[in-house]
Protein backbone atom coordinates (compact mmCIF):
# COMPACT_ATOMS: atom_id res chain seq x y z
CA UNK A 1 0.00 0.00 0.00
CA UNK A 2 1.36 3.37 -1.04
CA UNK A 3 -0.24 6.79 -0.87
CA UNK A 4 0.65 9.61 -3.20
CA UNK A 5 -0.25 13.28 -2.92
CA UNK A 6 -0.81 15.75 -5.73
CA UNK A 7 1.07 18.74 -4.32
CA UNK A 8 -0.62 21.13 -6.73
CA UNK A 9 -3.90 20.32 -4.98
CA UNK A 10 -2.87 19.72 -1.36
CA UNK A 11 -3.53 22.80 0.76
CA UNK A 12 -2.51 21.39 4.13
CA UNK A 13 -6.05 21.40 5.55
CA UNK A 14 -5.09 18.57 7.89
CA UNK A 15 -8.18 16.37 7.44
CA UNK A 16 -6.00 13.32 6.65
CA UNK A 17 -3.78 14.03 9.65
CA UNK A 18 -6.85 14.11 11.88
CA UNK A 19 -7.96 10.68 10.66
CA UNK A 20 -4.59 8.90 10.33
CA UNK A 21 -2.03 10.76 12.48
CA UNK A 22 0.47 7.85 12.25
CA UNK A 23 0.70 8.25 8.49
CA UNK A 24 0.07 11.91 7.64
CA UNK A 25 1.79 14.93 9.12
CA UNK A 26 1.26 18.55 8.08
CA UNK A 27 4.05 20.88 9.18
CA UNK A 28 3.64 24.52 10.15
CA UNK A 29 4.45 25.59 6.58
CA UNK A 30 1.42 23.46 5.60
CA UNK A 31 3.49 20.87 3.73
CA UNK A 32 2.17 17.32 3.92
CA UNK A 33 4.55 14.51 4.86
CA UNK A 34 3.57 10.86 4.40
CA UNK A 35 5.45 7.99 6.07
CA UNK A 36 7.46 5.84 3.64
CA UNK A 37 6.19 2.54 5.01
CA UNK A 38 2.55 2.38 5.98
CA UNK A 39 2.34 0.01 8.97
CA UNK A 40 0.79 -3.38 8.21
CA UNK A 41 -2.04 -2.77 10.65
CA UNK A 42 -5.68 -3.11 9.57
CA UNK A 43 -6.82 -0.16 11.72
CA UNK A 44 -4.22 2.18 10.26
CA UNK A 45 -4.90 0.94 6.72
CA UNK A 46 -8.61 1.60 7.18
CA UNK A 47 -7.74 5.09 8.41
CA UNK A 48 -5.61 5.66 5.32
CA UNK A 49 -8.46 4.64 3.00
CA UNK A 50 -10.80 6.96 4.89
CA UNK A 51 -8.28 9.79 4.61
CA UNK A 52 -8.14 9.37 0.85
CA UNK A 53 -11.91 9.48 0.41
CA UNK A 54 -12.23 12.29 2.95
CA UNK A 55 -9.69 14.65 1.36
CA UNK A 56 -11.70 17.79 0.55
CA UNK A 57 -9.36 18.77 -2.29
CA UNK A 58 -9.09 15.21 -3.68
CA UNK A 59 -5.30 15.34 -3.49
CA UNK A 60 -4.63 11.80 -2.22
CA UNK A 61 -4.56 8.56 -4.16
CA UNK A 62 -3.80 4.97 -3.32
CA UNK A 63 -1.52 2.47 -4.97
CA UNK A 64 -2.27 -0.98 -3.48
Amino acid sequence: MKVTVDRTLCDGNGVCMGIAPDVFDVDDDLNLHIVDEIPDDPVIRAQVRQSITSCPVLALSLEE
Binding site: D11, G18, P21, V26, D28, S54
Partner: protein, 415 residues
Protein backbone atom coordinates in the same frame (compact mmCIF):
# COMPACT_ATOMS: atom_id res chain seq x y z
CA UNK B 1 -25.19 -12.47 6.87
CA UNK B 2 -28.53 -10.86 7.63
CA UNK B 3 -28.40 -8.36 4.79
CA UNK B 4 -30.23 -9.75 1.79
CA UNK B 5 -30.61 -8.78 -1.84
CA UNK B 6 -34.26 -7.95 -1.31
CA UNK B 7 -33.52 -5.02 0.97
CA UNK B 8 -33.88 -1.40 -0.09
CA UNK B 9 -31.95 1.47 1.40
CA UNK B 10 -33.05 5.05 0.74
CA UNK B 11 -30.42 7.76 1.08
CA UNK B 12 -31.85 11.28 1.32
CA UNK B 13 -29.36 14.00 0.43
CA UNK B 14 -26.78 14.46 -2.32
CA UNK B 15 -23.85 16.07 -0.56
CA UNK B 16 -20.90 14.56 1.31
CA UNK B 17 -22.87 12.64 3.95
CA UNK B 18 -25.21 11.03 1.41
CA UNK B 19 -22.29 10.31 -0.91
CA UNK B 20 -20.35 8.66 1.91
CA UNK B 21 -23.34 6.52 2.99
CA UNK B 22 -23.59 5.18 -0.57
CA UNK B 23 -19.82 4.63 -0.77
CA UNK B 24 -19.83 2.83 2.58
CA UNK B 25 -22.67 0.53 1.52
CA UNK B 26 -20.65 -0.28 -1.59
CA UNK B 27 -17.49 -0.90 0.43
CA UNK B 28 -19.37 -3.37 2.62
CA UNK B 29 -20.68 -5.20 -0.42
CA UNK B 30 -24.33 -4.38 0.24
CA UNK B 31 -26.26 -6.50 -2.25
CA UNK B 32 -29.70 -4.88 -2.04
CA UNK B 33 -31.07 -1.81 -3.79
CA UNK B 34 -29.96 1.72 -3.02
CA UNK B 35 -32.18 4.65 -3.97
CA UNK B 36 -30.22 7.86 -3.68
CA UNK B 37 -32.42 10.96 -3.67
CA UNK B 38 -29.87 13.69 -4.30
CA UNK B 39 -32.04 16.76 -3.78
CA UNK B 40 -32.89 19.92 -5.67
CA UNK B 41 -29.44 20.92 -6.93
CA UNK B 42 -29.30 18.51 -9.85
CA UNK B 43 -25.53 18.20 -9.62
CA UNK B 44 -23.24 15.36 -8.71
CA UNK B 45 -21.75 15.77 -5.21
CA UNK B 46 -18.89 18.20 -4.85
CA UNK B 47 -16.52 19.48 -2.19
CA UNK B 48 -18.39 22.27 -0.45
CA UNK B 49 -15.45 23.72 1.54
CA UNK B 50 -13.83 24.72 -1.76
CA UNK B 51 -16.69 27.05 -2.68
CA UNK B 52 -15.71 29.91 -0.39
CA UNK B 53 -12.00 29.19 -0.82
CA UNK B 54 -10.43 27.97 -4.07
CA UNK B 55 -13.51 28.13 -6.30
CA UNK B 56 -14.50 31.71 -5.57
CA UNK B 57 -10.88 32.77 -6.12
CA UNK B 58 -10.81 31.00 -9.49
CA UNK B 59 -8.05 28.59 -8.45
CA UNK B 60 -10.22 25.56 -9.31
CA UNK B 61 -13.26 24.94 -11.50
CA UNK B 62 -16.47 23.07 -10.69
CA UNK B 63 -15.06 19.98 -12.47
CA UNK B 64 -12.05 19.96 -10.15
CA UNK B 65 -14.16 19.67 -7.02
CA UNK B 66 -16.53 16.84 -8.03
CA UNK B 67 -16.40 13.91 -5.63
CA UNK B 68 -15.36 10.61 -7.27
CA UNK B 69 -18.22 8.76 -9.01
CA UNK B 70 -19.69 5.67 -7.36
CA UNK B 71 -20.94 3.94 -10.51
CA UNK B 72 -18.05 1.49 -10.68
CA UNK B 73 -18.71 -0.09 -7.29
CA UNK B 74 -21.16 -2.75 -8.45
CA UNK B 75 -24.00 -1.40 -6.33
CA UNK B 76 -27.62 -1.71 -7.44
CA UNK B 77 -27.87 2.05 -7.31
CA UNK B 78 -30.67 4.28 -8.57
CA UNK B 79 -29.78 7.97 -8.51
CA UNK B 80 -32.72 10.37 -8.42
CA UNK B 81 -31.76 13.95 -9.23
CA UNK B 82 -33.88 17.12 -9.11
CA UNK B 83 -36.02 15.32 -6.55
CA UNK B 84 -36.51 15.52 -2.81
CA UNK B 85 -37.86 13.34 -0.05
CA UNK B 86 -41.06 15.25 0.72
CA UNK B 87 -42.58 13.10 3.45
CA UNK B 88 -41.88 10.16 5.72
CA UNK B 89 -44.95 8.07 6.43
CA UNK B 90 -45.54 8.04 10.22
CA UNK B 91 -46.91 4.48 10.16
CA UNK B 92 -45.10 2.75 7.33
CA UNK B 93 -41.47 2.50 6.30
CA UNK B 94 -41.80 4.49 3.10
CA UNK B 95 -40.85 7.96 1.86
CA UNK B 96 -42.60 10.16 -0.67
CA UNK B 97 -40.14 11.28 -3.36
CA UNK B 98 -41.29 14.25 -5.42
CA UNK B 99 -39.74 16.43 -8.12
CA UNK B 100 -37.87 19.37 -6.59
CA UNK B 101 -39.56 22.77 -6.97
CA UNK B 102 -38.63 24.11 -10.38
CA UNK B 103 -37.56 20.73 -11.76
CA UNK B 104 -38.16 20.16 -15.47
CA UNK B 105 -40.69 17.63 -16.72
CA UNK B 106 -44.28 16.72 -15.98
CA UNK B 107 -45.68 17.83 -12.63
CA UNK B 108 -46.01 14.79 -10.42
CA UNK B 109 -47.41 13.89 -7.01
CA UNK B 110 -44.34 11.76 -6.53
CA UNK B 111 -43.80 8.11 -5.65
CA UNK B 112 -43.86 6.34 -2.31
CA UNK B 113 -40.69 4.29 -1.95
CA UNK B 114 -40.66 1.58 0.73
CA UNK B 115 -37.38 1.11 2.58
CA UNK B 116 -35.65 -1.24 4.98
CA UNK B 117 -33.37 1.56 6.11
CA UNK B 118 -33.44 5.32 5.59
CA UNK B 119 -30.41 7.56 5.95
CA UNK B 120 -31.30 11.23 6.41
CA UNK B 121 -28.47 13.39 5.07
CA UNK B 122 -30.45 16.42 3.93
CA UNK B 123 -28.12 18.86 5.66
CA UNK B 124 -28.76 22.57 5.85
CA UNK B 125 -29.55 25.45 3.57
CA UNK B 126 -28.40 29.05 3.81
CA UNK B 127 -30.51 31.19 6.10
CA UNK B 128 -32.16 33.87 3.98
CA UNK B 129 -34.63 36.21 5.70
CA UNK B 130 -37.67 36.65 3.47
CA UNK B 131 -37.21 40.43 3.37
CA UNK B 132 -33.75 39.94 1.78
CA UNK B 133 -34.85 37.52 -0.95
CA UNK B 134 -35.41 38.28 -4.60
CA UNK B 135 -32.71 40.87 -5.34
CA UNK B 136 -30.41 39.84 -8.20
CA UNK B 137 -27.28 41.30 -6.63
CA UNK B 138 -27.80 39.69 -3.24
CA UNK B 139 -26.42 36.16 -2.84
CA UNK B 140 -26.08 33.51 -0.19
CA UNK B 141 -23.24 31.04 -0.39
CA UNK B 142 -24.23 27.46 0.12
CA UNK B 143 -24.32 25.69 -3.22
CA UNK B 144 -22.12 25.42 -6.28
CA UNK B 145 -24.73 27.42 -8.20
CA UNK B 146 -24.50 30.20 -5.57
CA UNK B 147 -20.71 30.28 -5.90
CA UNK B 148 -20.85 30.34 -9.71
CA UNK B 149 -23.36 33.20 -9.69
CA UNK B 150 -21.08 35.22 -7.42
CA UNK B 151 -18.03 34.28 -9.45
CA UNK B 152 -19.67 35.59 -12.65
CA UNK B 153 -19.99 39.02 -11.08
CA UNK B 154 -16.37 39.45 -10.04
CA UNK B 155 -14.86 40.60 -13.34
CA UNK B 156 -16.75 43.90 -13.00
CA UNK B 157 -14.86 44.49 -9.74
CA UNK B 158 -18.03 45.20 -7.76
CA UNK B 159 -17.95 47.02 -4.46
CA UNK B 160 -18.93 44.16 -2.17
CA UNK B 161 -20.52 44.05 1.24
CA UNK B 162 -20.39 40.75 3.12
CA UNK B 163 -23.08 40.51 5.79
CA UNK B 164 -22.24 38.19 8.67
CA UNK B 165 -18.78 37.28 9.90
CA UNK B 166 -19.04 33.67 10.92
CA UNK B 167 -17.01 31.03 9.11
CA UNK B 168 -18.57 31.60 5.67
CA UNK B 169 -18.78 35.40 5.91
CA UNK B 170 -15.25 35.87 7.18
CA UNK B 171 -13.82 33.46 4.63
CA UNK B 172 -15.80 35.05 1.78
CA UNK B 173 -14.60 38.53 2.77
CA UNK B 174 -11.00 37.27 2.68
CA UNK B 175 -11.42 35.42 -0.64
CA UNK B 176 -13.15 38.34 -2.37
CA UNK B 177 -10.54 40.77 -1.04
CA UNK B 178 -7.83 38.42 -2.33
CA UNK B 179 -9.50 38.74 -5.75
CA UNK B 180 -8.86 42.48 -5.53
CA UNK B 181 -12.40 43.61 -4.76
CA UNK B 182 -13.23 46.48 -2.42
CA UNK B 183 -14.88 44.67 0.52
CA UNK B 184 -16.80 45.78 3.58
CA UNK B 185 -17.61 43.23 6.27
CA UNK B 186 -20.65 43.66 8.50
CA UNK B 187 -20.07 41.96 11.85
CA UNK B 188 -23.08 41.31 14.01
CA UNK B 189 -21.02 40.65 17.12
CA UNK B 190 -17.96 42.37 18.52
CA UNK B 191 -15.46 40.45 16.40
CA UNK B 192 -15.47 38.18 13.34
CA UNK B 193 -15.78 34.46 14.08
CA UNK B 194 -16.07 35.18 17.80
CA UNK B 195 -18.96 32.77 18.21
CA UNK B 196 -16.62 29.89 17.30
CA UNK B 197 -13.20 31.23 18.26
CA UNK B 198 -13.87 33.66 21.11
CA UNK B 199 -12.00 36.87 21.87
CA UNK B 200 -8.34 36.27 21.02
CA UNK B 201 -8.59 34.60 17.63
CA UNK B 202 -11.57 36.83 16.82
CA UNK B 203 -9.41 39.90 17.35
CA UNK B 204 -6.57 38.38 15.32
CA UNK B 205 -9.02 37.65 12.52
CA UNK B 206 -10.31 41.24 12.60
CA UNK B 207 -6.75 42.58 12.42
CA UNK B 208 -6.02 40.42 9.37
CA UNK B 209 -9.09 41.79 7.60
CA UNK B 210 -7.97 45.36 8.37
CA UNK B 211 -4.36 44.68 7.32
CA UNK B 212 -5.65 43.52 3.93
CA UNK B 213 -7.84 46.55 3.43
CA UNK B 214 -11.29 45.23 4.34
CA UNK B 215 -13.40 47.82 6.13
CA UNK B 216 -15.60 46.54 8.95
CA UNK B 217 -18.74 47.57 10.81
CA UNK B 218 -18.90 45.94 14.24
CA UNK B 219 -21.96 45.28 16.41
CA UNK B 220 -24.12 46.03 13.39
CA UNK B 221 -27.20 44.33 11.96
CA UNK B 222 -28.67 44.84 8.52
CA UNK B 223 -32.33 45.80 8.80
CA UNK B 224 -33.14 46.30 5.13
CA UNK B 225 -31.93 45.68 1.57
CA UNK B 226 -33.37 47.50 -1.43
CA UNK B 227 -32.57 48.38 -5.03
CA UNK B 228 -34.16 51.16 -7.08
CA UNK B 229 -33.53 49.23 -10.31
CA UNK B 230 -33.86 45.45 -10.34
CA UNK B 231 -30.23 44.84 -11.33
CA UNK B 232 -28.87 48.07 -9.84
CA UNK B 233 -26.81 48.75 -6.73
CA UNK B 234 -28.17 47.49 -3.44
CA UNK B 235 -28.77 49.91 -0.57
CA UNK B 236 -28.15 48.36 2.83
CA UNK B 237 -29.77 49.92 5.88
CA UNK B 238 -28.30 49.18 9.30
CA UNK B 239 -29.83 49.12 12.75
CA UNK B 240 -28.12 52.41 13.68
CA UNK B 241 -29.92 54.11 10.76
CA UNK B 242 -26.83 54.36 8.55
CA UNK B 243 -26.87 53.24 4.93
CA UNK B 244 -24.33 52.09 2.38
CA UNK B 245 -24.49 51.02 -1.23
CA UNK B 246 -22.98 47.91 -2.86
CA UNK B 247 -22.82 46.36 -6.31
CA UNK B 248 -22.73 42.90 -4.75
CA UNK B 249 -24.00 41.69 -1.38
CA UNK B 250 -23.03 38.30 0.02
CA UNK B 251 -25.05 37.04 2.97
CA UNK B 252 -23.37 34.77 5.50
CA UNK B 253 -26.20 34.56 8.01
CA UNK B 254 -25.81 30.94 8.99
CA UNK B 255 -27.75 27.87 8.00
CA UNK B 256 -31.07 26.24 8.77
CA UNK B 257 -31.59 22.49 8.82
CA UNK B 258 -33.43 20.96 5.89
CA UNK B 259 -35.66 18.53 7.74
CA UNK B 260 -39.09 20.14 7.65
CA UNK B 261 -40.14 17.22 5.43
CA UNK B 262 -39.91 14.97 8.51
CA UNK B 263 -42.58 16.88 10.44
CA UNK B 264 -45.43 14.57 11.32
CA UNK B 265 -43.24 11.48 10.95
CA UNK B 266 -42.93 10.91 14.68
CA UNK B 267 -39.28 11.99 14.72
CA UNK B 268 -37.78 14.84 16.77
CA UNK B 269 -37.02 17.73 14.38
CA UNK B 270 -36.83 20.54 16.95
CA UNK B 271 -33.18 21.28 16.03
CA UNK B 272 -32.10 19.14 13.12
CA UNK B 273 -32.97 15.46 13.42
CA UNK B 274 -32.65 14.16 16.95
CA UNK B 275 -30.84 10.83 17.33
CA UNK B 276 -29.12 8.76 19.97
CA UNK B 277 -25.37 8.39 20.50
CA UNK B 278 -25.16 5.86 17.67
CA UNK B 279 -27.01 8.18 15.21
CA UNK B 280 -30.25 6.16 15.38
CA UNK B 281 -33.46 8.16 15.44
CA UNK B 282 -36.58 7.22 17.40
CA UNK B 283 -37.48 4.90 14.51
CA UNK B 284 -35.19 1.89 14.57
CA UNK B 285 -34.37 1.87 10.85
CA UNK B 286 -33.99 5.64 10.32
CA UNK B 287 -30.53 7.17 10.79
CA UNK B 288 -29.05 10.66 10.47
CA UNK B 289 -25.64 11.91 9.35
CA UNK B 290 -24.03 15.25 8.62
CA UNK B 291 -25.17 18.81 9.38
CA UNK B 292 -28.71 17.67 10.14
CA UNK B 293 -27.84 15.14 12.84
CA UNK B 294 -28.41 16.24 16.42
CA UNK B 295 -26.86 13.71 18.73
CA UNK B 296 -25.50 13.48 22.25
CA UNK B 297 -21.73 13.55 21.96
CA UNK B 298 -20.32 11.09 24.49
CA UNK B 299 -17.04 13.00 24.83
CA UNK B 300 -18.65 16.36 25.62
CA UNK B 301 -21.71 14.98 27.36
CA UNK B 302 -24.30 17.14 25.60
CA UNK B 303 -26.25 17.28 22.37
CA UNK B 304 -24.83 19.07 19.34
CA UNK B 305 -24.96 19.43 15.61
CA UNK B 306 -21.72 19.91 13.68
CA UNK B 307 -21.77 21.65 10.31
CA UNK B 308 -18.30 20.71 9.09
CA UNK B 309 -16.82 18.55 6.34
CA UNK B 310 -15.01 15.91 8.42
CA UNK B 311 -18.09 15.33 10.54
CA UNK B 312 -20.32 14.61 7.55
CA UNK B 313 -18.17 11.80 6.16
CA UNK B 314 -17.35 10.29 9.56
CA UNK B 315 -21.01 10.28 10.65
CA UNK B 316 -22.11 8.77 7.36
CA UNK B 317 -19.78 5.82 7.83
CA UNK B 318 -20.89 5.50 11.43
CA UNK B 319 -24.60 5.57 10.60
CA UNK B 320 -24.10 2.68 8.18
CA UNK B 321 -22.17 0.80 10.88
CA UNK B 322 -25.03 1.40 13.34
CA UNK B 323 -27.54 -0.07 10.93
CA UNK B 324 -25.25 -2.98 10.08
CA UNK B 325 -24.55 -3.70 13.75
CA UNK B 326 -28.28 -3.85 14.44
CA UNK B 327 -28.79 -6.37 11.64
CA UNK B 328 -26.04 -8.52 13.08
CA UNK B 329 -27.40 -8.27 16.60
CA UNK B 330 -24.51 -6.18 17.89
CA UNK B 331 -24.87 -3.02 19.96
CA UNK B 332 -23.65 -0.12 17.78
CA UNK B 333 -20.88 2.04 19.25
CA UNK B 334 -21.50 5.73 20.04
CA UNK B 335 -20.29 8.33 17.55
CA UNK B 336 -17.46 9.96 19.49
CA UNK B 337 -15.36 11.70 16.81
CA UNK B 338 -14.00 15.06 18.00
CA UNK B 339 -15.16 17.85 15.62
CA UNK B 340 -12.59 19.50 13.37
CA UNK B 341 -12.68 22.33 10.87
CA UNK B 342 -10.34 24.67 9.08
CA UNK B 343 -10.63 28.01 7.34
CA UNK B 344 -8.39 29.69 4.75
CA UNK B 345 -8.09 33.46 4.99
CA UNK B 346 -5.34 35.54 3.33
CA UNK B 347 -3.05 32.55 3.00
CA UNK B 348 -3.38 31.62 6.66
CA UNK B 349 -4.82 28.33 7.88
CA UNK B 350 -7.13 28.59 10.88
CA UNK B 351 -7.81 25.20 12.46
CA UNK B 352 -9.93 24.11 15.37
CA UNK B 353 -10.56 20.79 17.10
CA UNK B 354 -13.13 20.07 19.76
CA UNK B 355 -16.23 21.95 20.78
CA UNK B 356 -15.67 25.26 22.55
CA UNK B 357 -19.28 26.17 23.27
CA UNK B 358 -19.79 26.77 26.97
CA UNK B 359 -16.07 27.03 27.72
CA UNK B 360 -15.29 28.90 30.93
CA UNK B 361 -11.53 29.47 30.59
CA UNK B 362 -8.94 29.89 27.84
CA UNK B 363 -5.17 29.87 27.71
CA UNK B 364 -3.46 31.78 24.90
CA UNK B 365 0.07 31.05 23.70
CA UNK B 366 2.00 32.43 20.75
CA UNK B 367 3.22 29.97 18.12
CA UNK B 368 5.68 30.05 15.24
CA UNK B 369 8.03 32.80 14.10
CA UNK B 370 5.09 35.15 13.59
CA UNK B 371 3.65 34.67 17.07
CA UNK B 372 0.18 33.68 15.96
CA UNK B 373 -2.29 33.04 18.79
CA UNK B 374 -2.90 29.43 19.82
CA UNK B 375 -5.92 29.07 22.08
CA UNK B 376 -6.84 26.18 24.36
CA UNK B 377 -10.42 26.16 25.63
CA UNK B 378 -11.41 24.63 28.98
CA UNK B 379 -14.69 23.73 30.56
CA UNK B 380 -14.77 22.80 34.23
CA UNK B 381 -11.02 22.29 34.14
CA UNK B 382 -11.09 19.95 31.16
CA UNK B 383 -9.74 20.70 27.69
CA UNK B 384 -12.68 20.86 25.28
CA UNK B 385 -11.17 22.57 22.23
CA UNK B 386 -8.05 24.12 20.71
CA UNK B 387 -7.50 26.45 17.79
CA UNK B 388 -4.51 27.97 16.07
CA UNK B 389 -3.17 29.63 12.94
CA UNK B 390 -0.68 27.76 10.74
CA UNK B 391 -0.12 25.31 13.58
CA UNK B 392 -1.54 21.98 12.37
CA UNK B 393 0.71 19.81 14.55
CA UNK B 394 -0.18 21.64 17.74
CA UNK B 395 -3.89 21.59 16.90
CA UNK B 396 -3.92 17.88 16.05
CA UNK B 397 -1.98 16.96 19.18
CA UNK B 398 -4.83 18.51 21.14
CA UNK B 399 -7.34 16.30 19.33
CA UNK B 400 -5.84 13.23 20.95
CA UNK B 401 -5.78 14.98 24.32
CA UNK B 402 -9.42 16.07 24.12
CA UNK B 403 -10.42 12.51 23.25
CA UNK B 404 -8.27 10.79 25.85
CA UNK B 405 -9.16 13.09 28.76
CA UNK B 406 -12.78 12.44 28.02
CA UNK B 407 -12.22 8.71 27.74
CA UNK B 408 -10.55 8.76 31.14
CA UNK B 409 -13.52 10.56 32.64
CA UNK B 410 -15.93 8.13 30.99
CA UNK B 411 -13.83 5.23 32.19
CA UNK B 412 -13.99 6.56 35.74
CA UNK B 413 -17.78 6.53 35.59
CA UNK B 414 -18.05 3.21 33.81
CA UNK B 415 -17.22 1.09 36.84
Amino acid sequence: MVVTTSQTVVVAGGSLAGHTVVAELARRGFAGDVVWVRGPEGTAPYSRPALSKELIQGKVTSDDIRLPGLEAHGLRLRVVDHAVCARLDPDDDRVLVTPAPGAAGEPSDGDWIPFDALFVCTGTRARLPEAFAGLPNVHCLRTLADAERIRERLSGRPRTVVVGAGLVGSEMAASLRSCGLPVELVVQGRLPMDAVFGEDLGRFCLERHHAHGVTTRLLTTVTGLSASEPDGPVVLTFDDGEQTSADLVVLGLGAVTACEWLRGSGLDVSDGLGCDEALRTARPNVFAAGDVANWRHPVFGHRMRVEHWSNASAQARHAVESWWAGLEGREPPPFAEVPYFWSDQYGLKYQMVGHARGHDEVSVERTGADGYPFVTYFREGRVVAAAGVNAPRAVMRMKARIQSEATTIQGAYAG
